[in-house]
Amino acid sequence: MHLKRLELHGFKSFAARTVLEFSPGVTAIVGPNGSGKSNIADGIRWVLGEQSMRQLRGKKSDDVIFAGGQARSTMQMAEVGLVLDNSAAWLPSEFAEVAVARRSFRNGESEYLISGQRVRLRDVTLLLAQARVGHDSYTVIGQGLIDQALSLRAEERRGLFEDAA
């Protein structure tokens, strides 16, 4: 199973709807400082259910919504969608693709969707656990954090093994 597609719209610096298609193997993401590369990493964590704003470099939950720039106004909603290939039927779905999406509004509301249907956060977490994908395991290794595993206490490092089990 692999990630087929990632869509960002209104999420951090991705004001314009942006679609990234991914193939199996290695995809490099490159660009100048501040262009938005780590924002893509944050988008993936966020759609996988990340609740800690600190992990997303923000303070309040609407920090992930495009805040406007000198030539573009603020947006009212952020959305990230992830499409997983399910042709090997890993996930309990008869479809060959499973789509997970998350939306956040400036009024504080939040929505989670699986294949277009509104669901609760725990349904998303359950589905992703079955796909062996999580926002807090080693699915996304953040900038500057490669040696964090070495700075953990021994009991916390054990946590990484429980994710691998």
């Binding site: 610096s13 193997g25 290695v26 490099a28 490159v30 994908v133 040696d147 490092r157």
Partner: protein, 179 residues
């Protein structure tokens, strides 16, 4: 539950020893299970806790932990703290690769994990990444031109005003703007 953890631990440990010696062209390393901690009495050493380490949690009590021991080729076994920035990144990479290989997740995104590595080490790192990529899809955020040469596809991001734009790129174009 406990049995599964121990089986996983042994599988990861065996791979860790192998990946370490590949990444360092020699030397030796291992993971060890530590005895479960008891409350309070052991907290004296928390002052040595490195910045960035999470504070003690109640769930740390009563379970065993995992310690990392390494011996870099030519050097004697030393505390992880004394290792260089690049050496720590390589030890961490060996551990990460071992976890990924034991139970491959569908995809893994790495954000500038090559930042501290010299050219020879970036190459060794990427060689293992490429092998693991047969089972796990990798997205690698990087400024490094060597890393880019290992990619099957390259996406370029650019900032126009305050808005990010994405663009598929060829290797030559990407390397031209790389470090």
């Amino acid at each position: 539950m406990r049995r599964q953890f121990e089986e996983t631990f042994h599988a990861v440990n065996e791979r860790f020893q192998r990946h370490f010696t590949t990444l360092f062209s020699g030397g030796a390393a291992r993971l060890e299970l530590t005895a479960p901690r008891r409350a309070s009495g052991d907290d004296a050493d928390d002052e040595d806790q490195e910045p960035g380490a999470r504070p003690p949690t109640a769930k740390g009590m009563g379970v065993s932990g995992v310690e990392v021991f390494v011996q870099i080729p030519g050097k004697r076994a030393q505390d992880l703290a004394l290792l260089s920035g690049g050496e720590r990144a390589m030890v961490s990479a060996a551990l990460l690769f071992s976890l990924l290989e034991t139970n491959p997740p569908p995809f893994c995104l790495l954000d500038e994990v090559d930042a501290a590595l010299d050219e020879a080490n970036v190459t060794r790192f990427c060689e293992i990444l490429k092998q693991l990529a047969e089972k796990t899809q990798f997205m690698v955020i990087t400024h490094n031109r060597v890393t880019m040469t290992y990619a099957d596809a390259i996406y370029g991001v650019s900032m126009e005003g305050a808005v990010s734009r994405m663009l598929s790129m060829k290797l030559a174009e990407a390397v031209a703007i790389a470090r």
